[in-house]
């Protein structure tokens, strides 16, 4: 893998390691500070495992006051800090730095309050996304954003990345589903934005923090909104003889006034890969497969599913199945949820890209990707969150072949540039992190980036919090930007990725 530029290492910090570890051990329990090589190894990378770095030390504070004291100390001693949630991020946002301490929030793993009257849950950031839903589902509630890694990813990490999921069109992403956060700034100041009521007054600092990738503060408490579980959920599994007809049907569903809970598209390569892998019973003759999920009250869902049926037939669908039970609905999703491992079974390695495009540009984007696939002689399979325009091409290659690796990098970068050219963006949900940093200038000019850096400077004057992430270091649009999985050895191989 190509080398990635990181901020210049401050050797004076490296030389002071034992003194720093000693001090940290006074700011939290001594067993919460890890500094030996074997202790640090599990923290060398996040889910973008192609990049590894050993941190100076790992500290696992237990409460907000400890986080504040640690940051205050690091601020006064000019020590860099990299915050980390569950380490499931796909863009290297929690990649350690050799001269930085890694601040893990793993011990912040408790739900503090479930407040049904105010329809919210107050939780520590280390609680998993799905853990919140598990805590309230017996009363018929759930937490809406559902990133595919929800089993393992932490809510604090969701705030840092503004995580989405397949239901984003109808239910929004993290930023639309949280009411408040408690955060510690780099200088140790503890602050609270929002609470249990809607819309804070004044600058929406919670909105700024959400999706800031750990660059502006360390979140130590989150208040999330919970919703009542819909009465009925049904899905339709629809095959189309061409990309255009399937894409048109997806657009028509939206323009007809239906807001599906989820809408997913898979291309022929992925239909075959997933059907081979998970025996999902997908229509293998289809060029494009559309899964539409609808939720609401019984008659509402039945009415909407009838409309989807009419639109699909009008657009010449080659097959159409409607779920008549929860089991059947889940079987429709089984193949889709196995998309990533299915690609892993087809080639030694795959890269997952994460761009967003306007829905109507799907056919154009897929055609372009097909051309690129031929140009680089590398197979690609595509899945697309058609509800919200998030495109995940999976490029298959052999990482041991240096030339293939180089070509994959170029291919990936060209895909993301295509997304921008079609009116989209370079990352829909995985974050910029370290991997897409140099592609920021594809979307933003100097003024835009300078404004964002000014905000960073105003809240972290010494640039100590997660430096080297999100914003270009090289100031050239380098060829970067993908998730790399070798021989299906994903850092979290059991997590569904979609």
């Amino acid at each position: 893998m190509s080398e990635i530029a990181l901020p210049k290492i401050d050797s004076s910090i490296l030389n002071r390691k034992s003194e720093i570890v000693k001090k940290l051990s006074k700011l939290t329990n001594i067993e919460n500070v890890l500094s030996e090589a074997d202790e640090l190894r599990p923290y060398e990378t996040d889910a973008l495992s192609v990049y590894t770095q050993t941190p100076l030390a790992v500290v696992l504070p237990e409460n907000t006051e400890e986080v504040s004291e640690i940051l205050k100390y690091c601020h006064s001693e000019n020590i860099k800090v990299v915050p980390r949630g569950a380490g499931t991020g796909l863009s290297g946002g929690a990649l350690p730095l050799q001269d930085a301490i890694l601040l893990g929030l793993g011990k912040f793993n408790k739900i503090l309050e479930i407040d049904y009257e105010n329809k919210c849950v107050v939780t520590q950031p280390g609680v998993t996304n799905l853990g919140i839903t598990h805590a309230v589902q017996h009363k018929g509630f759930y937490y809406a954003p559902d990133p595919s890694s929800q089993l393992a990813c932490s809510i604090g990490g969701n705030v840092a990345e503004n995580s989405g999921g397949v239901h984003s069109l109808k239910y929004g992403t993290t930023t639309n589903n949280i009411l408040g956060v408690q955060m510690v700034m780099m200088d140790g100041t503890i602050c609270r934005f929002g609470g249990k009521s809607f819309d804070q007054e004044g600058y929406d600092l919670m909105g700024l923090i959400c999706g800031s990738e750990g660059l502006l503060g360390v979140v130590t408490e989150v208040t999330v909104k919970i919703l009542k579980t819909p009465e009925v959920v049904r899905a339709a599994l629809i095959g189309f003889p061409s990309i255009k007809e399937g894409g048109d049907a997806a657009s028509e569903i939206i323009s007809s006034g239906i807001v599906p809970a989820g809408m997913e598209i898979m291309d022929k390569a992925l239909i075959e890969a997933t059907d081979n892998f998970s025996k999902a019973g997908y229509p293998r003759d289809a060029e494009l497969l559309l899964i539409v999920e609808l939720d609401g009250t019984e008659s509402e869902v039945n009415e909407l599913i009838k409309k989807v049926e009419v639109i699909s037939k009008k657009n010449n669908c080659s097959s159409l199945k409607l779920s008549n039970s929860e089991k059947e609905r889940l079987s429709f999703w089984a193949g889709r949820k196995a998309a990533f491992p299915a690609c892993g079974a087809m080639a030694p390695d795959y890269y997952c890209m994460d761009g967003s495009i306007p829905r109507g540009k799907l056919a154009e984007a897929l055609l372009e990707i097909k051309k690129l696939s031929e140009k680089y002689e590398l197979p690609v399979a595509n899945c697309f969150h058609a509800g919200d325009g998030n495109l995940h091409p999976l490029i298959m290659f052999d990482g041991n072949d240096k030339e293939q690796l180089r070509k994959t990098e170029e291919f990936g970068s060209e895909i993301l540039k295509t997304c921008v050219r079609l009116g989209g963006v370079i990352t829909g949900e995985h974050g910029v992190g370290i991997e897409k940093r140099e592609l920021m200038c594809e979307m933003f000019n100097d003024n835009d980036i300078q404004q964002q850096l000014s905000i960073k400077k105003s809240l972290d004057e010494k640039n100590l919090l997660n430096p080297g992430k999100v914003y270009p270091i090289l100031r050239k649009c380098a060829e970067e930007g993908r998730v790399h999985v070798h021989k299906n050895k994903d850092k979290f191989p059991d997590l569904p990725r979609f």
């Binding site: 602050c191 809607f198 807001v259 829905r359 919200d388 910029v432 003024n447 809240l459």
Partner: protein, 426 residues
Amino acid sequence: MSTKIKINSQIFQDSNNVYYPKDESEVSDLIRELYKQDSPTEIIGKNSKSFIGNKTQSANTTSLSKISGIIDYRPEELYIKVKACTPINEIEQVLSKNNQELAFEPIDFGYIKEGKSNKGTIAGYLSCNYAGSRRFKVGSVRDHVLGFKGVNGKGDIIKSGGTVVKNVTGYDLSKLIAGSFGTLVALTEITLKVLPKKDSSKTVIIYPSNFQQIYDFFNKLSSSSSEISGAVFVPEQSKDKDFVTKKNSVFKFNDLKSNISFIAFRVEGDKISIEEKINNLKKELKLSNSDISTLDVYQSEPFWKKVNNLEVFEKTEHNLIRMVIPPANGSKLCKHLENNHNYFVDWCGSLFWIEVNSKKEEKIKDLKKMAKDFGGYLTVIKTSSEYDYGEAIFTVDKVRLMISEKVKQSFDPKRILNPGKMYRGV
């Protein structure tokens, strides 16, 4: 002609010394020049909401009202990109042709200001971030902004976001701009998420007997999977006769007894699912047909317009307060307000619109303390002529003020844009 000469000429100014830049580059030139001169400016659009917030103390006024027009509307992509001062009415008309709408239900502040509709521009709405009755279901204005372009306090044109729903590229500055009252950037372009209009709506009226019952109903309504898209409580009120008369006339509908306290909740969707949801909710709230009345779509739509136009406070000369608290504390607040102030409750128990007599500024202080104790905040939306600004219009704590100052500094280091509009020093 140099910008310096231009800003001193009639090209930019009218006879009241208001600058009217015509496009983004003129806004940039103007602000860059004002930055050089250390000369702050008030930023206005159509002036429909400029009464909200502190009075800016600046030598200049810049009207962005000429930056208007629809740039790109893609109904199938569910977005509309407009120049910042495009009137809300124009946007709503265009969307309506495709059976779409701004789901956050813009409030028409024209009624409280001058007794008639004046919705103003989308930039004004975004700058205030005040959503209407549907907020608790669909989110606020900030949740519907996909991206923007604007000019910061140094005159630099900046942008953030895009046209797609899922976008985590860089800081989400659209959120920060929402509710910033023009103190961070002069907006020039806004992209909004739009949503399909619902086929129909009905409104069910309940007549609760006490405050606890009101909040039991609100709690059950917001806990139901038969989703509602609006829920208000309008109290009977007895002391202020003028207000009672006004309230009874505003809410005069065939199927509504407006002279006693009532809760109204709205159900939207296709006709079959509306009936299904109402039946479900009647069961969940244990209501019989004799307990309720129903407004059909012809009454329901104007009812919610009147709520969102704040028509009960039409042309108010008192202080009008907007207080948002977690709903669990709502019944306590209702008890406090009873017979003290004119008010009504929106957002299924979370948003309070309260009128405070002009001579009782200390009452605002009490209410603000109460809002904070309850975990919320208040804003004095309209001040009476006697208001002396002894009590700040906005609610802010020390740490947030400190951070707000830093954020302001990063956009507008010389405080050129709307200085003091929100907080002193910001």
